[in-house]
Symmetry: C2
Subunit: 490 residues, 2 copies
Amino acid sequence: MSKGITSRSEDYSQWYNDLVIKADLAEYSAVRGCMVIKPYGYGIWERIQAILDKRFKETGHSNAYFPLFIPKSFFSKEASHVEGFATECAVVTHYRLKNDGNGQIVVDEDAKLEEELIVRPTSETIIWNTYKGWIESYRDLPILVNQWANVVRWEMRTRLFLRTAEFLWQEGHTAHATKEEAVAEANQMLEVYADFAENTLALPVVRGRKTENERFAGALDTLCIEALMQDGKALQAGTSHFLGQNFAKAFDVKFTNREGKQEHVWATSWGVSTRLMGALIMAHSDDQGLVLPPKLAPIQVVIVPIYKTDEEKANIDSFVTSLQAELKSKDISVKYDDRDTQRPGFKFAEWELKGVPVRVAVGARDMQNGTVELARRDKQTKETVGQEGLSNRIQLLLEDIQQHMYQKAFDFRETHTTEVNSYEEFKQVIETKGGFVSCHWDGAVETEKRVKEETKATIRCIPLDAKDEEGVCIFTGKPSARRVLFAKAY
Amino acid sequence: MSKGITSRSEDYSQWYNDLVIKADLAEYSAVRGCMVIKPYGYGIWERIQAILDKRFKETGHSNAYFPLFIPKSFFSKEASHVEGFATECAVVTHYRLKNDGNGQIVVDEDAKLEEELIVRPTSETIIWNTYKGWIESYRDLPILVNQWANVVRWEMRTRLFLRTAEFLWQEGHTAHATKEEAVAEANQMLEVYADFAENTLALPVVRGRKTENERFAGALDTLCIEALMQDGKALQAGTSHFLGQNFAKAFDVKFTNREGKQEHVWATSWGVSTRLMGALIMAHSDDQGLVLPPKLAPIQVVIVPIYKTDEEKANIDSFVTSLQAELKSKDISVKYDDRDTQRPGFKFAEWELKGVPVRVAVGARDMQNGTVELARRDKQTKETVGQEGLSNRIQLLLEDIQQHMYQKAFDFRETHTTEVNSYEEFKQVIETKGGFVSCHWDGAVETEKRVKEETKATIRCIPLDAKDEEGVCIFTGKPSARRVLFAKAY
């Protein structure tokens, strides 16, 4: 099959678009900025959902569901929230269409809503309005709830998975009796995300804190995980917010504490979205297509038979049947691609494009020799190995691929994180090498804005593990106590 | 705890509302007609999703995701579809709010959409517009795709789970090369639903076909499963539609067949929704609260300790720890409710209200005697049994409860299905006893409408297993070849 994927060196952005389309992950729909997530892409998202959902439940959270629509007035209740979210969103104004008598379907002006409804861009407001009814005393706390849902943010420039008008995500919304407990929750969920990114997505991330400028609208503190893509741009892969009592105050949610006094409730929210699909693609894939980490791949092993006669095929089938059973008993997902409509070379290319970690090819001669050809997607290497003990070998190979993919991405990030001590150096690295730039910053919003205007780089985060280090801001020369990470970002 | 549930005999409708609220299943939100599904209710929905999703995948389907919004013009393309759906739906007309300068957030009239967007009430149109790009040849068929999503239908009178403006559902949309294959798919999915209803929900259903009058807007044939609630009203629990080539023609979706000729594609769609939650509640529950079939219950067994001293508690704890481990090894979900903030009686009432199938109570005297008290929710009975072999006994008990709940609902339906041969008899049964009324009907849409106007009863379905039987329509006296099922319905 002809892949038709632009190479990364030629045009990284086009490579990404080609890959998403050609690997059957997603496509644009007839609705501006909205995507269709195709079955293969959705299968990967289902794996992300299943693994995260399990971790949320292990940490005591339950799922629930809140309305798609939010009354317009709710947005005005939390001052900084409205600035961040109310501007670019889909507004429902009517609840009926009608036939205009000339065979045209038009909006029925008699069916105008008294108050416009906003299609949720995030659910803090409707959820805190609900929590008001759930919370009376400290005995009702904590509330540890998550929602898997679609949200809409009216983006003008969209890219599949990375920035779409509608996207899928999860949003956790928790309520606590104390500030300490809420802060601990926000930290815990950041670590859940970081662990998932590193151990499942094979994606090394920097755990950090956003500056005031990049903070979630309505949060007192936004924690984040930041990953580096192969083009040297950063991607925010998840956020966890400590919201203080902002939403509790906006929606008047109080509880009676153990001492019998009324207090406002403390809150967190945290989310990851289908954007993770973009991170996954851009961190690992190559010019031949997708490269999926084994722990996330919907299909971990594909088996392709190579034969000329029905007899050869029957012989291979019988071997494959027992191999499949062995792999399944080890919880390894396997697909036997014995379509008779396509040649082996076409199948090789297709599964390579779709990023299946391990390919087993077995032909008539292999059957005579008791061998198979074993290929790994990440390194693009293959070898002939014995059929004896094959499922054990594949299990180890999958672990090795997972580890190698992480290490490769980690090494890339290490070589693309540069410490600089002057603005000249800073600009040069941002413009040529890219990646994370570690430098001193004076802590001022204004400085960050100026640097962004001049270089398009933003502060991705103040790393949580940043060491105390006396220094001076590369832009203003003012004193600084620790380094921050700048980068151009998605 | 005081349950505050109206009894069924007093006011069935109020009993339902009370139960949904008090058992923490769902509540109304600040948005007209939209519900909040609370964690306990959502946990039941997650079980429904998991079990059905597995069956969809076993029958070869994959999940995907299509846009929330549908361009208005799409609805006009399939003539009967627009009549059914375009009238009562949420319409997005603008994509931005703004601050009006006086601190008020208003809709920005400069951000008016060129074409209004409909929040999907069902996705046939946007999906068939998408399938056009996926299908060229018979090799691209069949497409077997399902979507789990939220949909919006602007209902004027709403009831939690049964009829809400926004609800959650799954919608399968398949594309086939032949009529026969599409018909077989629609039949297969009806059987998946029926089997799920009967074997998981413990809900006996009639498999049937809708009359023209009740058919899905755009379908050539609508198959359904119909269940009977305890108040004698019917509830449609799932539908599977054979759409013919209607949507393929509306969206110009053709394929090249094996003979090289262009043909329109054949279609089905099928869905169940959070309405199933309503069916589940109304079919089984009693005046004490929810009664959940074991195969669906998020918690199958609750264990309540009864103790006075820490020593007694420690002794019980150690027994419970090993019981929990045994139950978990049998895939039985168990909760140990050892909250020290509530008394045993409160806990008994709470878990009864929430419908947990089996309760184990164990006190200090039980520990001396080597016994526990074992209570089953469905029959409201309890007995003292030995600790020896308890997990086996519980496993058998859960199976017995599942079976008994089905049988009870089945017997109720049998005694509430009445054959009548005159309109007088018909009216009397509909008005007094309720339930399904089996009678002859002349096949005319007009007759069905007249009967509905006069009695509020509709034809729920023409049962698939209806025997050929010569008769005359109870309303018009015209000839009829088989009986149909009438009932008042939700």
